[in-house]
Symmetry: C2
Subunit: 132 residues, 2 copies
C-alpha cells in the first residue's frame, strides 16, 4: 500500500504511522498532509507513532518538517504515542523535536490541541475527501 491514510476528525487530522517511512512514502505523506491542511482548513494534526519501535534521524527530520510546514498554514502538530525507546533514541540522536508538541496518547493530544486552539471550529470544506 502506497499511501498513509489521513483521517479527518472535526477540525483535526489524524495520521497513524504503522509502516517504515522510507523516503518516497515520507515525502508523499508530507505533501498529502500539507494539501489536506490547506484543503480542509484543519487547525491541528495528530501523528500517532505508537506502532513505531525504531526511529532514525530521517524520521525525526520528517516529523520536524511536518510540524514546521503545518505551522505556516496555521495548524499545530502533536506527535502522540511515542514509545519510551523511541524517545531515548531521538534524544541520543540529538533530535529534541523542538517545535513539535507531544502527548501520551491521541485523547491527550486532542485535549492539548483543543486547549491551544480554542473551540473546535467547523472546517471550510465539508465535501473534501479525507481518504487520499
Amino acid at each position: 500500500m502506497e499511501k498513509i491514510p489521513i483521517l479527518r476528525m472535526g477540525s483535526f487530522l489524524l495520521v497513524t504511522i504503522q509502516v517504515d517511512l522510507y523516503d518516497r512514502l515520507a515525502l508523499t505523506l508530507e505533501t498529502d498532509l500539507i494539501n489536506m491542511v490547506h484543503k480542509t482548513g484543519a487547525r491541528g494534526v495528530l501523528i500517532d507513532i505508537s506502532a513505531v519501535s525504531i526511529v532514525d534521524s530521517f524520521m525525526g527530520r520528517i516529523l520536524g518538517n511536518i510540524a514546521s510546514m503545518t505551522r505556516v498554514l496555521d495548524a499545530e502538530t502533536v506527535v502522540v504515542g511515542m514509545q519510551p525507546a523511541v524517545a531515548i533514541t531521538l534524544i541520543e540522536l540529538g533530535l529534541s523535536l523542538s517545535g513539535v508538541y507531544t502527548a501520551l496518547d491521541v485523547e491527550r493530544g486532542m485535549s492539548l490541541l483543543q486547549t491551544k486552539l480554542g473551540p473546535n471550529d467547523e472546517l471550510v470544506d465539508d465535501d473534501a475527501d479525507d481518504t487520499e
Copy 2:
C-alpha cells in the same frame, strides 16, 4: 512492525488498516481489539480501511468476525472508508458484510455510532494503555 495500533477516542476505538492482513496479524488484531473493548468498556469500534485497495475473502471474514465478537461485548463495529473497488470485490466474493455497519469516512462513522449508542459515555478505565 508487528501490531496494528488501536487508538482510543472517547468511548470508541479506532483502527486504521494500512498493511496487508496476513493470518497472524489479523488474529492478533482480533484478540487485541476484543481485549481493548473489554478493558476500556468501549461502545464502538471504527475500522478504517481507506488504505486497503485489495481485499480477499479472508479479510472479509476477519471484519465479520470482529463485528460479531464486539457485538457480544455490547459494542458496535463500523467499517469506514471503503474504496469502491473493494466494495465491488466483496460483493463479487459473496461477502455482503452482514452485521457490519459501514460509513463513508471516520466522521460519518462516529456520527453513526453516536446515533446508535446515544451520548458518548465515559470509559471505565481511564488509565488503560491504548497503544498496545
